[in-house]
């Protein structure tokens, strides 16, 4: 360990650490543009210059390694002067078009100008003109005039996505960030370049001009796009929905988690939230009659379904009902479903897994082939036909086609992803009765007799267990759309109507019951979770 002093504070850090890392640990703020803890250090922006005793010149905090007895000053007059000088230089050719810049409000030029510069501009020359509003890929818009040439995005493409699309062309104040000739910034992680751009040079083509960032609220959550479980922040626009054509979720940003996704997330996850507000959302319980759906009230739907299920159980026994749960559901939803269907109603045919006929894409970074956030949770909860001696999904569909299965309860799935559309259709046509419960319409929902609206991941609390067994919490960001309800709430209504008890009033109650009965979940504290570095329940297989 190395002992050094920064602004009079004694700090102990590991050998090889840099001054900026030591300062970060001590909570001493040193401004930075080019430095990013996830990228190689280049020391080009020069805003992090600090004074180190016994060194003749100011040193960049991002690159200078700590040494024993080092005395660093981050606020000496010399440092403040140099910092202000760098700010002044950065703004020499900057267009200062903040009023029309999408970065305004989260721009590090604005922030550091307010914190460290506040100088009156002496610059009366013409500025260097460069290209503006130039799309450089499907997701990214480039404004070269705003670029401060910190090369974060270049280094991201070289070192993290390893796709090498970007470079700096030309010299001096004519230097310009551009994709290499014939290339565009089109890779599975291109959106991260926007996140790490400290200024308005790279903006998000999807988010651009949809809303000002100061109208956004932020809720920590987990990406439901695959079994990786990248930590995210959901940015939602609660009060000014008219700014974005009614879309409540404005964007999704990765949230730092050292053990899962570090600072990054893939584009599929980043832009994969559109189902939350699109026209396929199911807004009310629906009942089919004469091949057309009509809205009904929740009580009516629950009464109808419970009566029909009871009728089938009475006539054909519990073996005649199949339940297909979904690895899109939270642990709490899966637990409540298992409690209702297996423990309280005694059903045997319960499964969750529908292997897709087209395997999902994957890589060795963040993208997993399993496009469900909670397959591991379903496994840990033992939702499988082996443990109940029942039928798998495939067997259920076959049994339905043979007339042995009379009723099917499908959660979320589009069964056409794993089976031929004709087989699914054939199976449903033989059923006496079927229910679909999910947030959005799909080809399977249209086959069901009843459709029940559940919420999306941004409208509920809960937990997902990622591929490695890490339990992570999602949090409610916005109110449920229409009449939709969390799955476990719907299941509780069923239980009540069946005369059973489910004494849960909020999601945490479900989790507590779950962790009391399944040891794998015991290490996780639902209410005390900071959504950071959650416990691993079991080691990666």
């Amino acid at each position: 360990m190395i002992k050094l002093t920064i602004d009079g504070v004694e700090i102990e850090v590991e050998q090889g650490a840099t001054v900026i890392q030591a300062a970060d640990l001590a909570g001493i703020d040193i401004p930075r543009y080019c430095y990013h803890p996830g990228l190689p250090i280049v020391g080009v922006c020069r805003i992090c210059l600090v004074e180190i005793e016994r060194m003749p010149k100011l040193q960049v905090a991002c690159y200078t390694a700590v040494s024993d007895g080092m005395v660093v000053h981050t606020n000496s007059p010399q440092v403040l002067e140099a910092r202000q000088a760098v700010m002044e230089f950065l703004l020499v050719n900057h267009p200062l078009d903040c009023p029309v810049c999408d970065q305004a409000g989260e721009c590090w030029l604005q922030n550091f100008y307010m914190q460290h510069a506040l100088h009156d501009s002496q610059m009366i020359e013409n500025k260097v003109k460069k290209s503006k509003a130039r799309p450089i890929g499907p997701n990214v818009m480039l404004d070269s005039e705003r670029c401060i040439l910190c090369t974060r995005c270049v280094r991201f493409c070289d070192e993290i996505s390893q796709t090498n699309e970007l470079g700096i062309f030309n010299r001096g104040d004519h230097a310009e960030l551009l994709p290499y000739p014939g290339r565009e910034l089109d890779n599975n992680y291109s959106g991260n370049a926007i996140d790490i751009c400290p200024v308005g040079a790279l903006t998000d083509r999807d988010f651009r001009f949809r809303t000002r960032v100061w109208y956004l609220a932020e809720t920590p959550s987990v990406c439901p796009g695959c079994s990786m479980g990248c930590n995210i922040n959901v940015h939602h626009n609660d009060n000014r929905t008219y700014k974005a054509d009614g879309a409540r979720i404005s964007r999704v940003k990765p949230r730092y988690n050292a053990d899962v996704n570090q600072w990054w997330m893939c584009d599929a996850g980043r832009y994969g939230f559109t189902h939350v507000d699109d026209e396929t959302r199911i807004l009310s319980p629906l009942r089919k009659s004469n091949d057309a759906f009509s809205n009904i009230l929740w009580d009516q739907a629950i009464d109808d379904i419970v009566a029909k299920m009871q009728g089938i159980i009475d006539k054909h026994g519990t073996e005649a009902i199949g339940v297909i749960l979904s690895p899109q559901m939270t642990n709490e939803d899966l637990f409540a479903a298992k409690q209702l269907f297996v423990e309280q109603l005694g059903l045997k045919n319960i499964d969750y897994e529908v292997a897709p006929s087209q395997p999902g894409n994957k890589d060795d970074f963040l993208i997993k082939a399993d496009k469900n956030p909670n397959s591991r949770g379903a496994q840990d909860l033992h939702i499988d036909p082996q443990s109940t001696n029942g039928m798998s999904v495939a067997e259920m569909l076959k049994a339905a086609a043979n007339g042995k299965l009379k009723a099917l309860f499908v959660f979320c799935h589009d069964l056409g992803n794993g089976f031929s559309a004709d087989d699914v259709k054939g199976a449903f046509s033989k059923l006496d009765f079927s229910v679909f419960q999910g947030s959005n319409h799909n080809n399977t929902s249209k086959l069901a007799d009843y459709i029940l609206p559940s919420v999306t991941f941004v409208e509920q609390d809960g937990t997902f267990t990622n591929y490695s067994g890490r339990i992570q919490k999602i949090n409610q960001a916005v109110e449920p759309l229409g009449d939709s309800k969390p799955n476990w709430t719907i299941l509780k209504m069923f239980a009540k109507r069946f005369g059973k008890s489910m004494p849960y009033f909020e999601t945490g109650d479900v989790f507590n019951a779950l962790s009391a009965s399944v040891p794998a979940f015991r290490s996780f504290d639902f209410n005390n979770s900071q959504n950071q570095n959650e416990q691993i329940t079991t080691e990666v297989a």
Partner: protein, 431 residues
Amino acid sequence: MTEKIISKFFDIKDSHTIDVYEKHGGYTAIKSALKTKSPQEIIDEVMKSNLRGLGGAGFPAGRKWSFIPKNSPKPKYVVVNADESEPGTFKDRYIIDHYTHGLFEGIMLAAYAIDAHTCYIYIRGEYVRQAERLNEQIKAAYERGYLGKNIFGSKFDLNVYVHRGAGAYICGEETGLLESLEGKKGWPRLKPPFPAIEGAFRCPTVVNNVETIAYVPTIMEKGAEWFANLGSERNGGLKLYCVSGQVKNPGVYELPMGTPLREIIMKHAGGLREGRTLKAVIPGGSSAPILKPDEIDVNADYDSLAKIGTMMGSAGIIVMDDTTDMVRALYVVTRFYSHESCGQCTPCREGTGWAERILKRMVDGDARPEDVDNLVRIANNIQGNTICALGDAAALPLRSYVQKFRAEFEACVPAKHRNDKPEEESLMLVD
């Protein structure tokens, strides 16, 4: 008659060929060193000779070589910096043209001393003829067995390659040069590590100027003490001074280190033209702080020039007489540094361009009162705050010209703006 080492070859016909070089005593130092001297003995000898890095920084050459790790499993490299891009400097071109094999012999000694088997000569792209000459003479040396496997019948192998630059000043900075050599954009590296530890291809590398390497054979032949005694204290040997500007006889003059600057200009370069008086002297290439006529009674060596606040640099002495417009001269210099700034770090990238635009206005007669102070402020804010020395190279002339010739800069402010205050200026902009 003073001693000449390199420049005596300038007047010999075909001095760039092996035969002529050998006739004048060439390749004796390497032949005997390969047989009788250990690598460490060569490093010690160069260290004793007080040979400085003659490209501009003046770092003692022997010490630079001694930093090469002895037990590194990595290959080691000798890189010769022939980028010669500092305005006012043209000595390396003469060496390559006339003392070609002297340079090669120096390379062989340097390579043997640090146990390198590969040398790259990074040559300025504009030096087309010189690159051709190098390649043609390297070929001749290979044919004689002076390069390649087992040079001169010893057990030592050495390959030499010529790499042409693409015209960037910054590639004369040693780490910018290495980046360019590796095929990347010529952006100087953060230091440490220095090239001696991680240089070309992240392997230990000695980067030396052409002139530095070219003096090594003579040091080995005549001894370190002899060489050191030619120069002044801690500045060994001779130096090729490039004199240009408004003198009678501009050219390259090989003189002892520490020859008085006034003597170089007035005696060796023939002094000023008739009827002219001296106005200013740049002692070491365009990046060196400028000197006024009363400041040139100084010995032209690294330590003496540093003592009076300027620098020896590449010994590119530029003489300006009373016909020179200092504002225009500074504009030309600053335009150069602005054009050549690599754009990597903020102060130099933005500061040089800003200063250039201010100076352009001054030259065009549209200056404001605050411009003069802004130029000094820009220089102060660039200097010392950048990765490489180009920032300083741009800042030093900027500040020294304005400070020493302030009246000329203030005279650029047209009468109507003389009494402007910055506040009034900003009010006008709002209007």
